[in-house]
């Protein structure tokens, strides 16, 4: 059976044979952020793939990874495209460098994990909060349930972390 659930009015579906995504989102539903780790190379990857992008190795384990990092870049949407986001603008999509494996295996690489900027409770943040977030902001992962056994990761400001004095933001507010 495909895993299927409605999220913000959008129907999300994971097919039977898509075992990589089934596992990824199942762990998210348990509040457990896991990535595939290749057995031989030991390298983690995101988003889910069928083999290690550096070695082509197909064998892997799902290992727990700390959902913490810093914003590498972002998109800040003011004009919605998808109907589900009409009431959500402005909203941010963050591309976050995980602390884990940052700069590996080569310096410009990182596990860059996407998600919306949300409150610790998983609600879209107000515009004032958006204005405080930019490149360099420290964030931590939270999960939003779609249905039982299926959640998606998001990002929220890491209140316990030391934050940059002025995270870089696009110059026009």
């Amino acid at each position: 059976m495909p895993i299927q659930g409605e999220y913000m009015g959008m129907m999300l579906t994971i097919d039977d044979v898509d075992k990589e995504n089934r596992e990824f989102f199942k762990y998210c539903a348990e509040g457990d952020f896991r990535l595939q780790k290749a057995k031989k190379s030991g390298l983690l990857r995101y988003p889910p793939t069928t083999a290690c992008p550096w070695t082509g190795e197909r064998d892997y384990d799902w290992v727990p990874v700390e959902g913490k990092g810093a914003v590498h870049s972002y998109a800040e949407v003011h004009h919605p495209i998808q109907p589900a986001f009409r009431e959500k603008v402005p909203y941010m999509i963050l591309v976050v460098d995980l602390d884990t494996q940052k700069g590996q295996p080569t310096e410009p690489e990182a596990l860059r994990v996407a998600g919306n900027l949300v409150t610790p409770d998983g609600e879209f943040v107000p515009p004032e909060t958006i204005k405080s977030v930019g490149i360099g902001t420290r964030v931590k992962m939270v999960f939003t349930k779609v249905i039982d056994g299926f959640a998606i990761p998001h990002w929220t400001i890491d209140e316990d972390a030391e934050q940059p004095a002025t995270p870089w933001r696009y110059p026009q507010e």
């Binding site: 959008m10 989102f25 988003p47 889910p48 998109a75 999509i93 990182a110 919306n116």
Partner: protein, 422 residues
């Protein structure tokens, strides 16, 4: 070792100077064509055939591309009375034009056919909107797409935005610098009677227009239009029999990729402020035996102002990080050292997934750009080279052109063409 360093491009053995574009044609650029993509395709191909002085018997190959929003080649060929020895309907958008030109050269070289008509027919405004609203937003979200569309991260502008912002962060590129791309292309379009938008814009107009998705203002984004476009490719010796001077293909690159491409385009690899042109240029220039300094006119894909800037920079028309200065110092305007998108491109003329930039450069090399200059007694344009509004847009002495197609930051295509040396 760079990933492309094993490409031996030192000798002219990659069909350099052996193939040419012998015919180009398009429909009008409109919003609300009220015609099928099939009808638009036959219209544009018919115009290109007339331009090439060819009949249905002269065309025996066809290539087209789409994202399930167009009409496939067999139907279009039949409408035009063309019997095909070869055709292929290719999935994809931007970056297809140059790639398909390369494929056309290859299949002709393999003896599979003689002459290939390449077309892109689309109702990018009135049917499947290129901006992503409507039909594209209604497509069910399955599997890998959950990693972006569930986040409201879907349209081209939304997907590319982190690349654009990171370039500003890494290199200090400013909104005003990038807005100069729109200013230049709008000036060019004002001298193009067939452009959809002919109005000239200023930097202030661009940065004061409403934000769509930071850093993109409305006027940083291209226009959605309904149109078809066609390019005919054949061997140079055949092209020389056509009424118009051939645009001779010196080198071509098709869908060259950065490492680590995935559903999010290119964000796992790095640096994310570098685009595929960084790799494509290692094939493009050596195969042509030319460098950026030899290019007179560029056609850098302008889905957004930023895409033009990023490509011009990573193909090496300026130093890495100096794209903002390059596009704002007058170089890319008509009358400048190396004008870009002299038809107005996607920002102003119309959105064609890359075809109109190649069509324009073909006409530039002919010296026959379709501006408002008068036609002389010999039937040729009497270009004034006065680039004031409503005037000329022919580049004086255009001998070598470079096109840079863009699928997304991680994938691009390119082509260098030159005047026939004969």
């Amino acid at each position: 070792m760079s990933p492309t360093s094993d490409t031996d491009a030192s000798a002219p053995k990659y069909l350099r100077g052996k193939y040419a574009i012998c015919g180009v044609g398009e429909t009008t650029y409109r919003r609300g064509s009220e015609e099928s993509t099939r009808n638009l395709a036959t219209w544009a191909i018919g115009n290109a055939m007339a331009d090439a002085g060819m009949t249905a018997d002269d065309i025996d190959g066809m290539l087209d591309y789409s994202g399930n929003d167009s009409t496939f080649a067999p139907l279009v060929a039949n409408d035009l009375g063309i019997r095909l020895n070869f055709y292929m309907d290719v999935h994809g958008g931007g970056s297809s034009t140059e790639a398909l030109i390369g494929i056309a050269m290859g299949v002709i070289e393999a003896g599979m056919c003689k002459t290939v008509a390449i077309y892109r027919a689309m109702n990018g405004y009135s049917q499947v909107r290129i901006g992503g609203t409507g039909a594209r937003s209604a497509v069910p979200i399955v599997g890998d797409q959950i990693h972006h569309r569930a986040y409201g991260w879907q349209s081209a502008g939304q997907m590319f935005a982190p690349t654009f912002l990171r370039h500003m962060y890494d290199y200090g590129t400013t909104p005003e610098q990038v807005a100069a791309v729109k200013v230049a292309h709008s000036k060019h379009a004002s001298n193009n009677p067939k452009a959809y938008y002919k109005t000239r814009f200023t930097v202030e107009d661009v940065v004061n227009s409403r934000i769509i998705c930071k850093p993109l203002h409305l006027l940083d984004c291209c226009v959605e239009t309904d149109n078809a476009t066609c390019i005919i490719v054949t061997r140079l010796d055949r092209a020389r029999d056509c009424p118009n001077p051939p645009a001779v293909i010196q080198s071509v690159v098709g869908r060259c990729c950065k490492p680590r491409g995935d559903i999010h385009l290119h964000y796992q690899g790095g640096p994310i402020s570098t685009v595929a042109g960084h790799y494509a240029r290692e094939i493009l220039f050596p195969n042509a035996g030319l460098g950026p300094e030899d290019i007179d006119v560029t056609g850098s894909y302008d889905a957004f102002t930023f895409t033009t800037m990023l490509q011009l920079e990573d193909y090496g028309f300026c130093k890495k990080g100096e794209g903002g200065d390059y596009v704002s110092n007058g170089t890319i305007e008509l009358g400048g050292r190396r004008p870009n998108n002299t038809s107005g491109g996607h920002l102003c003329e119309g959105y064609t997934h890359g075809m109109n930039m190649v069509i324009e450069n073909t006409r530039q090399l002919r010296g026959e750009v379709d501006d408002s200059c008068p036609v002389g007694p010999d039937g040729k344009k009497q270009h004034t080279y006065d680039y004031a509004e409503g005037g000329c847009r022919q580049v004086k002495g255009a001998e070598v052109t470079c096109n840079m197609g863009w699928a997304h930051p991680g994938t691009g295509s390119a082509m260098i063409m030159a005047k026939d040396a004969r």
